[in-house]
């Protein structure tokens, strides 16, 4: 079975601090990896995704993530956070099949103080 783990449940930062949110998965086969963001009261928006190729992927709003296959990790990073980044962040994987079933982590709540 596959699973996605986000070990940080709640992260609190000051503006301009650097961010790294951890995501680990357990599945031995081909995976596609995603980070979604959910702002308060809103729907899920795709931040970035990894399918193949360069393991360092860049997304919207200055976010990036690095796929490290040997560590089964796909951590999300941003060099300098803003107050507007306050949201819930979800890591997810797709097993590379065409059925598009996403397996989500439990989410990490990021709070950025101005």
């Amino acid at each position: 079975a596959q699973s996605v783990s986000q070990h940080n449940h709640h992260v609190i930062l000051s503006e301009a601090a650097s961010l790294e949110l951890g995501c680990n998965y357990s599945y031995g086969g081909t995976v596609n990896l995603f980070w979604y963001v959910q702002y308060p009261g809103q729907h899920l928006q795709l931040l970035l995704k990894y399918f193949s190729g360069d393991p360092l992927v860049k997304g919207i709003k200055g976010f990036e993530a690095e796929f490290i296959k040997s560590k089964f990790s796909f951590n999300l990073r941003k060099p300098s956070v803003q107050w507007s980044d306050t949201a819930e962040y979800f890591c997810a994987l797709d097993r590379g099949s065409t059925l598009g079933r996403l397996y989500f982590g439990r989410g990490t709540q990021l709070t950025v103080w101005p």
Binding site: L44, L46, A92, T98, R101
Partner: protein
């Protein structure tokens, strides 16, 4: 125009009632989904339809019945609502075979059963 739209956005109803949530996507995708987000913000797939055919049916009570009249619509009907059904229900869509099968989410329907 909203790519994946669902109605209603908010729904408060009594136990035992029957209710429906409608979903429409204008992205031309051939696969649609219903995901449930519980009070702890955990997201889990409920159903997936590909070209109007049921593909994924997670262990969801049979009080939940999805209906797909065409590939642009996937409605969710819930019979005999229970308190535990209170959650946010997200409709989503994707194009099977699309690179990485990116899933696009609707804005969610907040269901409260009292």
């Amino acid at each position: 125009d909203t790519a994946v739209s669902q109605t209603p956005k908010y729904l408060v109803t009594q136990m035992g009632n029957d209710k429906s949530i409608k979903c429409e996507q204008n992205l031309g995708h051939d696969t649609m989904y219903w995901y449930k987000q519980d009070s702890k913000k955990f997201l889990k797939i409920m159903f997936s339809y590909n070209n109007k055919e049921l593909i994924i049916n997670e262990t969801v009570p049979n009080r939940f019945s999805p209906k797909s009249p065409d590939k642009a619509h996937l409605n969710l009907h819930i019979n005999s609502l229970e308190l535990g059904d209170s959650a946010v229900y997200f409709c989503a869509s994707s194009q099977v075979g699309d690179s990485g099968n990116t899933i696009y989410f609707g804005e969610g329907s907040w269901l409260t059963v009292v």
